[in-house]
Symmetry: D3
Subunit: 229 residues, 6 copies
C-alpha cells in the first residue's frame, strides 16, 4: 500500500486502440474465453464502446483519495481501472474527476464500486462501467496504490494491459498477448461476416456449420405434434 508506479509499460497504443472495433464478446472468445469481468460491472449509460491501456488503482473501502493520485499517471488512451480492497458500494467517482481524466484523454473508467453524477457523465461523454450507481460520498484518509496488479471484478489486471468495454461488459487482455488476440479478433470477425451473409440469405446454421450429422448421432429425434395435447 502507498506505492505509485510511474512509467509503466503500456501495450502499444495502436494495438490497444484497434480493439475498439471489436465487441467485448468477440475479444473474450478470441482470447480463449478468459479475461471477462464479472457481470456486476455494467455501463452507466448505453452505447459506449472503448478500448485503452489500464492504469490500475487499489483503493480502500469508501476512500477515493488515490483516484486523485492516479490522474497524474494517466495519459491519452488510458482506461482507469479501480478495485477496492474490500467490497464497497460508495460513490467514488463523479463529474469533477471525470473532467480531469477527460482533459487528459482518458477513455473511460472501470470500477468495482459505485459511481455518481450519471447524468453529467453522460452529457460529458465520459463512460463508466461500475458495480452500482450511488450518490454516497467517500473520504480521503487512507493510502492505496497506483499501477500495481489488482483483482477487479474477478479479473487480474496489470498496468498496461488492454481493457475493452461496451454494453456487454468489460474484458481484459494481457499486454503480452494483445497483438495476437487482436489478430484473432480480426480473423473471427471475418468468419462471422461470412456466416452473417449466409444467414441473411436464409441459410440455416445447421447447414452452414454442418451440425445435422452430429445431432443425429447424439440421438436428436424429429416428431410431429400429436393431434391434440
Amino acid at each position: 500500500m502507498g506505492i505509485v508506479v510511474r512509467q509503466i509499460r503500456r501495450t502499444d497504443k495502436s494495438v490497444a486502440d484497434a480493439f475498439a472495433s471489436f465487441g467485448v464478446a468477440t475479444v473474450h472468445e478470441a482470447q480463449g474465453r478468459s479475461g471477462l469481468m464479472a457481470a456486476r460491472i455494467t455501463p452507466i449509460y448505453p452505447g459506449a464502446h472503448v478500448s485503452g491501456t489500464a492504469v490500475t488503482v487499489s483503493v480502500p473501502p469508501a476512500d477515493n483519495w488515490m483516484l486523485h493520485v492516479a490522474v497524474e499517471q494517466c495519459q491519452e488512451g488510458d482506461v482507469l481501472v479501480v478495485a477496492p480492497t474490500s467490497p464497497s458500494d460508495a460513490g467514488y467517482f463523479g463529474e469533477l474527476l471525470a473532467t480531469a481524466l477527460h482533459t487528459r484523454g482518458v477513455r473511460g473508467l472501470v470500477i468495482d464500486a459505485g459511481c455518481r453524477d450519471v447524468a453529467e457523465l453522460r452529457q460529458l461523454g465520459f463512460p463508466v462501467w461500475s458495480r452500482c450507481v450511488s450518490a454516497t460520498g467517500t473520504v480521503k484518509e487512507t493510502l492505496g496504490s497506483v499501477n500495481v496488479p489488482v483483482v477487479c471484478a474477478d479479473q487480474w489486471v496489470r498496468p498496461g494491459d488492454v481493457v475493452v468495454a461496451d454494453d456487454d461488459g468489460v474484458v481484459v487482455v494481457p499486454r503480452g498477448r494483445a497483438a495476437n488476440v487482436l489478430e484473432a479478433c480480426g480473423a473471427r470477425e471475418e468468419r462471422e461476416a461470412q456466416t452473417r451473409k449466409r444467414y441473411q440469405a436464409g441459410e440455416l446454421s445447421l447447414d452452414v456449420h454442418g451440425m445435422r450429422e452430429e445431432l443425429a448421432h447424439k440421438g436428436l429425434t424429429y416428431v410431429d405434434q400429436a393431434p391434440d395435447d
Copy 2:
C-alpha cells in the same frame, strides 16, 4: 431430451399479432392476473413491444446448441422462448443467431439466461428479454428439446402460446384462451380510455370509481395537521 416437435399448433396469427397493441400489464390483468414471467426477465434495451407465437426450447446449462436447431422450426410471427434445465447466466444468444431469426421474421427472444452483443441487437432492432447480459460463451455438446412445454421464469409455456413482451416484462397467454383474452384486453383498454379522460379533466378516482363510501366504512379518517409536529 433430444426431441424436436414440428408442425406445432400455433395460436391464430391475426390473434397473436393483435396482442402487440396491448401492454403486458393490460394482458396480465385481462387474463385474471396469470401468466406473468418473473421480474428478473428484462428487456436488453428500452422501447421494444412485441407479440407472437411461442417456439419453445429447453436447453442444458451453458449449452446453446439447441438454439441452432430451433431456428429451423421458426416462422414469421414467432417468439423464441428459451429455458435452461438448470440456472445459467451464460450468454446463449448474440447477433449471429439474431440475424438468422430476424431473417425468418421472428419477433424477438425470451430467455431465462444471458444474452450478449447488446449493442448489435439494438442496432438490428431484434429485441431480447433476458435474465442478464453476459458475454460468457456456451458450448455445443448436449441435446435439449424444441417445442416441448417448458417452465420459463416461473411460467408454463407451451409451443404455440402467445407471448407478449414490453418494457414491463413478459406475459404468456395459453393458445386456447388467446381469443377471449384478446377481447378482454380490448374491453379493458376501452374502460381505461374513459377513465383517463375523466382524470385528465381533473376528476378524482375516489369519485370516478365511487370509493369514498367504502373507505369511510372501513374507517378512513381525515384530520388537519396539528399546529406543529
Copy 3:
C-alpha cells in the same frame, strides 16, 4: 392506519423548486451526507430530474388503495412518496394514476415497491423512482395512511419535506433545513465550477487541493516500474 392528514405544512414552493438545479449527489453532500435513499430505488427511465414537496403514503403490501386517496391531497409541485408497511414488489402504480397526478401538477413519484406501464410513463413524461418494474397488480382492500411520517428506502420522510431525484437516486431534505441546505448547494456548486475550470485547464487536483504534502506525510512513495515483472 387509516389517517389522512390534510393541509400539511409544505416547504416553501420557491425553495423546493430551486433544488431541481442541483443533482442528488450535491444535495446529499451539502446537507452533511444524510437523507439519501437506498440505492435500490432507481429511475424507470434515464434523464429525469425533479424536486418537490413530499406527500407521503403508507400502504399495505400489494394494496394500492391509498394512492387513490393520496391524489386528492396533492397539489402542484408535490412529489408522491410511497412506502409499504412490509416489503412488496407488486406493481402499485401505472399510467392511469400517473395521468391523475400529472393533471394536478405532481412532479413525480418515489416508491419502495414496483411500478408498471414504464413505456407509457416515459411517453407521458411522468418520472418514477422505484424498487423494481413489475406488472403484477394490487388489490384495494386495506387502509393505510396519507401524510404521516414514513420510512421510505431507509430514510425518514415527513410530509412537506423536499424530495430531489435524478439518475443518481433520491435524497430527502427536512423542511426545517431546506433553505439552509439550498444555500449550501449553491455555495458548493460555485466552488465546484472553479475547480472544474482548473481541471479543464489541465491542473491536477493534487495541486488544486494541495494534497501532495499530506500524501507524502502518510508515506506515499513513487517508484519506476522495474525492467520487467
Copy 4:
C-alpha cells in the same frame, strides 16, 4: 382459480416413502438431471430429509387462505407444495398450520414464499423449505386452488408427484416415472458405494474411472514448477 381437486392419484406410498433414503442430488441425477427446484428454496433448519406425495396449492400473493383449505386434502405421507401466483416474500406459514399438518402425518412443506415461527417449527420437527424467513403476515381474502398443477421454484409439480427434500434443496419426480427413478437411485447408490470404498482405500478417480487417456488426448500437460515464480 377457486378449484379444489379431491381424490388425487398419488404415487404409491411405498415408492414415495422409499425416496427418503436418497439425497436430492442423487435423485436429480438418477432422473436425468431434471426436476430440481431453484436454489432459492432452502431448509429453515439443517438436517431434515423427507420424501412424500405432493399436495399442491396455488395461492395469491400475501394471502394464505388456501393453506387452510389444503389441510383437509392432506393425508399421511404427503408434502405440501405452495406456489404464489405472483412473487411474494410474505410469511404464509407458521407453527399453527404446521401443527395441523403434523397431526395429519404430513412430512413437510415446500413454499416459494416466506415462512415464520422458525424456532417453533424446529422444535416441533416439522421441516419447511422456503424462499425466505419472514414474520410478515398474510390475509384471507382471495381464492386460489388446491391440487392443480403448479409451477413452484421453476419446476412443474402435479398433485401426487413425489417430492424429495434435504439440505441440498428440493427435487420433484413425476408420478409416472417414480418407480423407475427409484430403481435408478438404488443402482446409482450402489455404484457410488463401490467407488467410495476404492477412494477410501486411496485409489484415485483418474484410475477408478479411467480418465487419464481422455485427459491426455485433450491435451492435458504436466509440468514441474519453475525454480521461482
Copy 5:
C-alpha cells in the same frame, strides 16, 4: 452528528423483559403488523431469542468508533441497535466489543451492517442480528451519534423502545405502546393455545374458524380428479 444522549427514558424493564416469551411474529401481529425490520437482518446463529430496551447508534459507513462510545450508555437489559448513515457491509462488531457489552448485561445487538467473530460470539452466547457476516474491519475517524432516533432496516427506532429478536428476525415496539402490545401478545398467545389444542385433536381450521361458508360464498368449488390427466 456527534451527539450522545444520556439518561434516556427506557420502557419499563419488567415490560421489556416480558416480551422475551413471545416470538417476533406474535409481537408483530399483536401491534397491528408494524415495526418489523427488513428480512435482510438475520441472526448469526440459530436459537437466540431476546428482548430489551434500545440504545441506538448512528454510525458512518465502515467506521465503528461510536460503538465504543455507546457501550458506556448501556445498562443491563438493553439491546444495542446500530444503523449506518449509508449502506455498509463492513464488519463493525466482533468478540471484544461483545465482551464489553456482555459484561454490562446487554442482551444482544442489532446492526444493519456486518458482524464478525461469529464462532466466538456463539461460544460467548452473545447474539447478533446483522445484515451480513464480514471480517472486513472498520476505522475510527468520524463521529456519529448515540441515542438519537435512527432508521434501522426500514424501521424507525427511538432510544428506549423495546426490541424483540428471534430466528424470525427483529421487531420494534415503541415505548409508549409497549404495555398495551405486551397485553395483546398474551391474549393472542392464549387464543392460539386453544386453537393449537383443537388442531392437535384433529379438528380443521376450516371448522375451528368457520371458514367454509365464506369460501363457498366466494365460489370455491370441489371436484374429483378426472380419470386421467
Copy 6:
C-alpha cells in the same frame, strides 16, 4: 488451460498449520486488511475452522473434470481452492470427491461455485466454503488447470499460499509473507487477550484505549434527554 503444475512450493507445513488457531478476522487484520475473499463464500455448516496450503484449480463453468485431476496433486495439510473461469452456480463438489480428499488428508475446500451433499459432508466432517449450495451436476468435457495462480472470490491465490477459513469466511496469506503474518497474529491475539480481561473487569474501551480526548476534540457532545420528545 490444460496445465497441471506438480511439486509446487508450499508454505512450511508447521506455519500453515499454526494459522488454524487464529480466526479469519484476526489474520485479515494482522496482514494489513488484505486477502479476504468476498463475503459470498460461506461455510456449508457452522463451526469448522481450518488452515492449510492452497492447491489451486481453474475450472470451466459447470465442468468439474479438473477436480479429479487435482486430487492427485493434494497432500496432507492442503486446502483445495477452486475458481471457475466464468461464474457458475453448478454443484461441482460432493461427498465422493470429499471422500477422496479426506483420505489424502486435505483439510477442506474453497470454491467460488456450488457444492452439494451438504448433509453427507457435515457427517464426514469435511468442511466446504462455497458460493451456494446446489444439487445441479456438472460435466467432464473441458480441460482447466491445476496449480496455476487463480482469482477466487476477488482474491489472487497462488499454489502453496496459506488459506484460513472459519465461520467468518476465507482469507489468503501469500507464502512469502506467511511466517511474518503468523507472528503478527500471535502478537495481536496477545494484545486482545489483555483488552478482553480489562473489558471483563468492567473497564470501558473509551478508557482502555484513551479515546475520550480525541472524541472531544472532534466535537462529541453529551446531552441529557429533553423532558419529552
